[in-house]
């Protein structure tokens, strides 16, 4: 069984992905060790399958790099278990790079 997650890159993050903002990503509902797929799995999937270079501009250690906010269904991921959030079918995940210009 698999689930589909809508992923959006915003605030300049999309430049790391050929300037494409909206992606639908299929993920197994369970990871290889039979645990529910988490946001961490998704982040690693993106890093390993959708990026060829500059991976450090997305991932730093085991999470997104500083300066990226993650939103799960329009809510700050800090309110939803962050990296351990268990993905559900049709979830909308936004990775947004904080802007500083003025």
């Amino acid at each position: 069984m698999s689930i589909n997650v809508k992923v959006e890159f915003s605030g300049g993050m999309e430049l790391l992905f050929d300037n494409v903002r909206h992606h639908t990503i299929e993920q197994p509902a369970k990871s290889s060790d039979n645990q529910p797929t988490t946001l961490k799995d998704l982040i690693f999937y993106i890093r390993d399958n959708m990026m060829t270079e500059k991976k450090e501009l997305f991932v730093d250690k085991d999470t997104v790099r500083p300066g990226i906010l993650v939103l799960i269904n329009n809510v700050d991921w800090e309110l939803c278990d962050e990296i351990d959030y268990q993905l559900e079918d049709n979830d909308e995940i936004v990775f947004i790079s904080t802007l500083h210009g003025g």
């Binding site: 605030g11 500083p66 300066g67 329009n74 809510v75 700050d76 309110l79 500083h100 210009g101 003025g102």
Partner: protein, 268 residues
């Protein structure tokens, strides 16, 4: 603080008539605006419309801080400056530049601070200064076709450090000189910052949950509002046991200069 008035003059009543009849404003709201002082940090693409509309709304005192020079390359987004002023230092119309050594002399004198700056170091500086001084910080930013807006340190919501405990790597920070910006993008964000400060002044924003407004000017759905975390108990500046109780060296903290220009006129 500046002299507080307990009634509007007849000239003010005439001038602000169309605001006064609004149920959300009224005499009470207009008097609050009259008695509120606001500090606008940055007089560029964001700061210009902020100053125009805060002034037009009848805010009693507006301070403007900037240290950039008007350059022909950013004229298109700095509509407050006309072309004849190219090369005139914007600080002419500003009190002085802001840095760790003077921020705590300036910030406490205002009720609401608006961050219209263009770099990470000053954003951390303003955040910490506003937390220490207990002032809400209406923060806007713009780059390319995108913008963002959040009110920090207000009403149980987070501060900038709650959201961003660690500064971004310098190589991920793009400024308007390098990345470009469409002039009307900071125009839109600056106007919304002005509105947000007005709402705080008259009490309209007090019930609003902390949120991030994301503006994507090139997309069909341009605006989205995202729900943000509350203040974090373990935040180093606004948490329960803060380790930062006075301003630090923000250039060092961020590992880069305080401005998006290569040769900043002032360093923090």
């Amino acid at each position: 603080p500046f002299p507080s008035e307990d009634r509007l003059s007849n000239a003010e009543i005439r001038r602000f008539g169309r605001q006064l009849i609004l149920p959300d404003v009224g005499m009470g709201g207009q008097l609050k605006l009259r008695n509120t002082s606001m500090l606008v940090v940055g007089a560029g693409g964001l700061g210009s419309p902020i100053c125009l509309y805060l002034g037009g709304a009848g805010v009693g005192r507006i301070g403007i801080i900037d240290h950039d020079e008007v350059d022909v390359s950013n004229l298109h987004r700095q509509v407050i400056h006309d072309e004849s002023r190219v090369g005139i230092n914007k600080a002419h119309s500003a009190a002085e530049s802001i840095r760790s050594s003077n921020a705590m002399d300036i910030i406490p004198k205002y009720d609401i601070v608006l961050d219209a700056t263009d770099n990470v170091a000053t954003r951390y500086l303003l955040n910490d200064a506003c937390v220490i001084a207990g002032k809400p910080l209406v923060s806007g930013s713009a780059l390319r076709m995108d913008g963002q807006l959040t009110t920090y340190n207000y009403n149980g919501g987070p501060c900038y450090r709650c959201l961003h405990p660690t500064p971004p790597p310098a190589e991920t920070v793009t400024n308007c000189s390098d990345g470009g910006v469409l002039g009307v993008i900071p125009g839109i964000i600056g106007c919304i910052q002005a509105l947000q400060a007005i709402k705080i002044s008259i009490g309209l924003a007090a019930q609003e949950p902390p949120s991030l407004l994301i503006f994507s000017g090139a997309q069909p759905t341009m605006f989205r509002t995202m729900k943000l975390r509350p203040r974090k108990k373990d935040c180093v500046v606004c948490g329960e046991n803060p380790s930062i109780t006075q301003l630090i060296d923000y250039v060092q903290f961020c590992g880069r200069g305080a401005t998006d220009k290569e040769a900043p006129l002032h360093v923090l």
